[in-house]
């Protein structure tokens, strides 16, 4: 039995429905937090985005391992796109987190807080992926080095997460799996729907990005074939190549 991959349109519709439901639950169902009040509503957008960004980085490591094992360029492209999405979601997590910090703590950023600083370190680590990748001209070496980077950095993500969980928090709240109680049922349900919506958004954008990369590389091959007056390969045989060639 094979798994049916949903179409991009179905994914896009599911994303809109899930995010719409999540935002409706946030503002009309979930109760205000007893401590922070209305400002805690930022939690439902900030935390799912941050979780998706970190999962994206781990996903990139998974595809990078597959690329190193098989040498198939498609896994390199998937790894690249997962990191690309992770960086975008990471940017959103940093922005929404800063707004929340300003409202809750009176400061845009707290350097003494391990959760914030560790996330920034992970984000900056992945920001170096682009210059590393595009500094290498040879396509095969570029893909191999990028995969090694993605694996190394991907291993660092859960280690970093565990270290932060073990560290003593100064101001950043620990909501899940804490001894003094977690979220109430209404908040948990709202959070899970928001997380599902963000995950769907991540997958949908990744799907669109992969389609754009694949089409772009197919056009590059087509152009080369036309320029060289070589026979044009059928579209089904045009495999995605490294993102640099695809004209990111």
């Amino acid at each position: 039995m094979s798994l049916q991959v949903p179409s991009a349109r179905a994914l896009a519709i599911a994303t809109v429905v899930a995010l719409g439901a999540a935002f409706a639950l946030v503002f009309f169902y979930a109760p205000n937090d007893a401590d922070q009040g209305f400002i805690q509503k930022i939690f439902y957008v900030h935390v799912p985005i941050a979780i998706c960004a970190l999962i994206g980085f781990v996903l990139a490591a998974f595809h990078a391992v597959r690329h190193l094992r098989t040498g198939d360029a498609i896994h390199d492209v998937r790894s690249y796109v997962a990191i690309h999405m992770g960086v975008i979601f990471g940017t959103a997590a940093l922005i929404t987190g800063s707004i929340w910090a300003r409202a809750a703590w009176g400061k845009w950023w707290v350097w003494e807080e391990p959760t914030l600083v560790s996330f920034l370190i992970v984000f900056l680590l992945y920001a170096t992926y682009y210059p590393l990748r595009y500094a290498i001209a040879d396509r095969e070496r570029q893909a191999r080095y990028a995969s090694v980077f993605a694996v190394t950095a991907g291993v660092f993500v859960p280690l970093n997460f565990m270290a932060v969980r073990m560290a003593e928090s100064l101001v950043h709240p620990r909501v899940f799996a804490t001894a003094d109680g977690g979220l109430p049922a209404e908040m948990l349900l709202t959070f899970l729907v928001a997380l599902a919506g963000m995950a769907l958004l991540f997958v949908t954008l990744m799907r669109f990005e992969l389609a754009a990369k694949s089409t772009s590389s197919a056009i590059s091959r087509l152009r080369r074939a036309v320029d060289n007056e070589a026979p044009i390969a059928p579209a089904s045989r045009i495999a995605p190549v490294a993102p640099s060639e695809a004209g990111s």
Binding site: F23, D33, D35, Q36, G37, F38, I39, K41, I42, V45, H46, I49, I88, T91, A92, I95, T96, I99, W100, R102, A103, A104, W105, G106, L201, L205, F208, E209, A212, T215, S216, I219, L222, R223, V226, E229, I232
Partner: protein, 92 residues
């Protein structure tokens, strides 16, 4: 720190959600620009290939990036020499 009053907190909450929406919109706009550029490149390549085929004395045309209306498809003639081997008729 005491909870902010609703009118004060509302600004921050709206700011966070709008920042998220804005990022998604920027991403979608960049993707739309990319798709538009690819569409242009494809049209250009299709024109180039058609011109080359015309120069080579062939009258067939490659599919355009936009699907043709049905009447245009019907008018398009494909000469026997480029349409592949003729079907073998059942009556010999």
């Amino acid at each position: 720190m005491p909870a902010l009053p609703l009118d004060e907190a509302g600004k921050y909450v709206a700011g966070a959600y709008l920042a998220f929406l804005l990022l998604v919109l920027i991403y979608v706009a960049i993707m739309a620009a990319k798709v538009e550029r690819m569409r242009g490149e494809l049209s250009e390549l299709a024109e180039l290939a058609e011109r080359r085929n015309r120069d080579a004395g062939l009258t067939t045309s490659l599919p355009a990036t936009h699907p043709d209306p049905p009447e245009a498809d019907a008018k398009r003639s494909i000469p026997a020499e480029v349409s592949g081997p003729a079907e073998v008729s059942s009556d010999g």
